[in-house]
Every structure is written in structure tokens, then in C-alpha cells.
């Protein structure tokens, strides 16, 4: 438990937060990486997945992207990117290997957003959608007023999973000489100073829990179905073989 006390001393000591390799720099890098990657993931992934879900197309892609994302180690992708043409050049405030890290983050943030958003829209009861069309709603209105509200919980869960994944991935970047709080941990391990290992782990785990908590609060605020109880499917039960029902049959009839 000496290490724990040492780690707390380290975290409370203002000196350890200062400097170009101080805790503050690493924390800012990690937060910047996570936020930037989340924005990119949302800008790229959300419209694509929601559109695919609305059209009922690309289900195989939307489902399997998560299976692939799980099977490929983050560490391997970071290594391949860092040794490849992108390299470990410093990218502005994102630090060393900033671009490689950012690309890896986006690649691992996209799958949960794409799969959950797609499945969320697809699982909206087809009869409700038909009824909405029957009342004369345009495709955009069907999407905006019916599908999106009903899918919002699944979408929000996907975004929350992505956020946690991004934070974890940003931590691993330190293993390939990248930026972020992982450096505090790797520094501690390679110098046998376990104060640093614990201090880093506290910051990383604490940051993840704060993000998870923030996401949960935002999720509750934006969820239009929050007063509806009994919704069993929260998008967190993992089903790799979830098959996408096709809307082709109904499309052919109409």
C-alpha cells in the first residue's frame, strides 16, 4: 500500500503536473484525442449508419464492422500505423504519433456507433413506420419524427460505448511511443516506480468513469423515451449474429 500513498502524494504534488511531460500535458493530450476522435466518429458514423438503417441496406456491413472491431487488437493497429507511412511524427497539440493515434481511435470508435445506430433504426416496428407513411409523412419526417426517437436509446448507448472505447484506446497509444496518460503508466513500469503506475492508473480509470457518468447523464437528458419503462433491449446485450431483417419484401409490395 506504500505505492498507493506514493501515488496520491504524486497526484497532489503540483510539481508533477507541470512541464512538457507532466501529468497535465498528458491529460490534455488524452482528452483532446478522445474529443476530436469522438467528433470525427459522430460526423462520419452517425449519418452513414442512420441512413443505412432507414433504407434497410448494408446490414451485413453495419453488423460485421463491430465483429471485426472486436477481433483486431488496438495495440496491433497502433503498431502498424506507427511503423507505416504515417509514422510517429508529432501532430500539434496531439503529441508524438498524434496522427497515427487519431486514426486508430476513429477506427475503433466507429464500430459501436455504426452497429448500434443501424440496429436501433432497423428494430423500429415496421408497422409503426408503415402507419407513419400511411398518414402522408415524407421519408425525412418518418426518419426524424418516428425512427430517430425510437432508436435514440440504442444510438446513445453506441455513442457511450464508443466514448469509453476511445478513452481506452488513447491510453494504449503510449505503448507505441504515442501521446496520452498511458505514458505515466509505461514510465512507471520501465523505471520500477510504481507510484507512477498507480497514479497513471487512477487518472485513466477515474477519467473513464467520469466520461461514463457524463455520458449517462447526457443520455438520460436526450432520451425522449425515458418515461417509457419495460424496454428490455438496451443495446448492451452482445449478439454477434444479429441478423438484419430486410425491408425489401415490403418495398416490393408498395
Amino acid at each position: 500500500m506504500n505505492e498507493l500513498a506514493g501515488a496520491i502524494d504524486l497526484l497532489l504534488e503540483p510539481e508533477s503536473w507541470k512541464g512538457s511531460d507532466g501529468l497535465w500535458t498528458q491529460l490534455v493530450e488524452q482528452v483532446l484525442l478522445t474529443v476530436t476522435a469522438l467528433v470525427l466518429v459522430l460526423v462520419v458514423g452517425l449519418p452513414l449508419a442512420l441512413w443505412l438503417g432507414h433504407r434497410g441496406r448494408g446490414g451485413t456491413f453495419a453488423i460485421n464492422v463491430s465483429n471485426v472491431g472486436r477481433a483486431v487488437p488496438v495495440f496491433a493497429v497502433l503498431g502498424l500505423l506507427a511503423l507505416g507511412p504515417i509514422g510517429t511524427a508529432t501532430l500539434g497539440p496531439y503529441g508524438r504519433a498524434g496522427l497515427a493515434t487519431l486514426i486508430a481511435l476513429v477506427l475503433f470508435g466507429l464500430p459501436p456507433v455504426i452497429t448500434n445506430s443501424y440496429v436501433g433504426v432497423r428494430e423500429v416496428d415496421a408497422e409503426i413506420v408503415e402507419a407513419a407513411r400511411g398518414t402522408g409523412m415524407s421519408e425525412w419526417q418518418v426518419f426524424r419524427r418516428i425512427e430517430l426517437p425510437l432508436a435514440s436509446q440504442m444510438v446513445a448507448n453506441g455513442v457511450r460505448l464508443a466514448l469509453v472505447q476511445l478513452w481506452a484506446t488513447a491510453t494504449i497509444a503510449a505503448l507505441v511511443a504515442g501521446p496520452g496518460l498511458g505514458n505515466v503508466i509505461t514510465y512507471g513500469f520501465s523505471n520500477n516506480s510504481y507510484d507512477y503506475v498507480i497514479a497513471g492508473a487512477i487518472l485513466v480509470a477515474g477519467g473513464a468513469l467520469v466520461l461514463e457518468g457524463l455520458a449517462a447523464v447526457v443520455e438520460r437528458r436526450v432520451d425522449p423515451m425515458r418515461r417509457v419503462t419495460g424496454s428490455r433491449h438496451d443495446g448492451l446485450v452482445q449478439m454477434p449474429e444479429m441478423t438484419a431483417r430486410s425491408r425489401d419484401s415490403t418495398a416490393a409490395e408498395s
Binding site: V72, P73, V237
Partner: protein
């Protein structure tokens, strides 16, 4: 004569260094795989052992905890809440914290990864048990099934497909996460991956990365085959 022979040897070396040589450093290098086959094999075996031990431990704990908590709403939400928290903690931080108790040992990796597997599996075990229709349970109870026989003969088989789906996800994720065990020196293929990255050894990085993915796919296929074997009645529905 010897001079000539040496010269020709040098010529051969200069003209044709292996693709894993520092001067060549190719990404794709079949000679690397044959030259380093024993090391790759050893790392793969460690990788599989770490994965299987972690997932089996996670499964046993998930089943035990789910069975204990399923009819108790408070215990149930506590279980789901705490496993969500565990799943939120990044693996690097998890291994670092556990290493203070269990040191730089395989135990550190196994406990960490078992906790992640547990977090995934608890949801699927509970969802699987919930998926058993009430009528079926009532009918079985009416036929005189006791609680144990109800669980083993009725509920367990009906819950199996959803549990197996969770087992696939847990196994595939664990194969990828084992690589990070390298922080405590037990990462299976992750150890070779880390060395490869440190030495800018491209053939090693690519080969071990590909092996990790191949391993995940193979273990996934094994579970799919096993699931079909133990739930023959789902075969028609899946097609």
C-alpha cells in the same frame, strides 16, 4: 581459393539478404515465419492459454452470479451496474492496478480479462434466462420438475443460444485484449508485437497482428461449432 569462396558468399549475402533483415525490413515475409516458427508457436500457445483460462473463469463467475441475482431485483441491478463500471476501466489501468496485488504474473492478466469477460457474459446469461417463456417454466413445474431439474433440463438449454452468443463476443474480445498483457510481460503474441514495435521490426509486427486476428476467428469458429453441437434444435432457425 578460400578468398574466392568468401567473396562469392559475401556476394550471395549482399544480393539476397532475407526479407526480415534490418536492411530489407519487409512487412510481408514468409521467411520470417519459418525462421521464427518456434517463438511464434510459444507465444501463440501462451496467448490461447491466457484467453481460455480467462474466459472460462469469467463464464463460471457469470453463471454463478446471475443465478444468485436473477430473482432479486436489487442484487440484479447492483450486478449489472458494477459490471458496467468494470467494463469501463481501460485494460491498461486494470492490469496496472491488479499488478500491485498479483505482480508481473499471468494471474494479473487472467484476473483482469476474466473480469471483462464476466461483464459481457453476465448480461447474456441473464438475458438468456429471461428469454425462457413463463409458460414453459409453469408447465415444467406442473409436471413436477424441482428447481434444480428445471434449471438443468429446461432453463439452461433454452438460455444456451444467447449465452453462446455472449461467449463468442467475450472470447474474440479477450484474444485482442491479451496483447496488452505485455505491460506485465505476459501478453502472448502481444509480447512479440511489443518487441517488434520497439525494434521497428515490420515482419514481426504484421505477422503477430495477423496471427491475433486468425486466432480470434478460429476460436470463434470453435465456439460456433460447439454451440451447434449442444443446441441442435436451433439449426433450422438459423438458416
Amino acid at each position: 581459393m578460400s578468398l574466392v569462396a568468401d567473396a562469392s558468399n559475401v556476394a550471395v549475402l549482399a544480393a539476397d539478404p532475407p526479407c526480415y533483415a534490418r536492411t530489407v525490413n519487409s512487412w510481408v515475409c514468409p521467411e520470417y515465419v519459418t525462421r521464427y516458427a518456434p517463438e511464434l508457436w510459444e507465444a501463440t500457445v501462451q496467448h490461447v492459454l491466457l484467453t481460455v483460462t480467462s474466459v472460462v473463469l469469467g463464464l463460471v463467475l457469470a453463471v454463478a452470479l446471475s443465478l444468485a441475482a436473477r430473482h432479486r431485483p436489487k442484487a440484479r441491478s447492483l450486478l449489472l451496474g458494477s459490471t458496467t463500471l468494470v467494463y469501463t476501466i481501460p485494460s491498461l489501468a486494470m492490469f496496472s492496478i491488479l499488478a500491485q496485488a498479483t505482480g508481473l504474473t499471468p494471474t494479473t492478466v487472467v484476473i483482469g480479462l476474466a473480469l471483462y469477460s464476466l461483464s459481457i457474459l453476465v448480461r447474456n446469461v441473464l438475458a438468456g434466462l429471461d428469454s425462457v417463456p413463463d409458460e414453459v417454466v409453469e408447465a415444467a413445474t406442473g409436471l413436477g420438475y424441482g428447481r434444480l431439474r428445471l434449471l438443468t433440463r429446461i432453463e439452461a438449454p433454452l438460455a444456451l443460444p444467447i449465452v453462446m452468443a455472449g461467449l463468442r463476443v467475450a472470447t474474440v474480445s479477450t484474444v485482442a485484449l491479451v496483447t496488452l498483457g505485455t505491460i506485465v510481460a505476459y501478453g502472448g503474441l502481444g509480447n512479440m508485437l511489443a518487441n517488434g514495435i520497439d525494434d521497428s521490426f515490420k515482419a514481426q509486427v504484421l505477422t503477430t497482428s495477423v496471427l491475433c486476428v486468425v486466432l480470434a476467428v478460429l476460436l470463434d469458429l470453435v465456439i460456433v461449432a460447439f454451440a451447434r453441437l449442444v443446441t441442435p434444435w436451433t439449426r433450422g432457425a438459423a438458416a
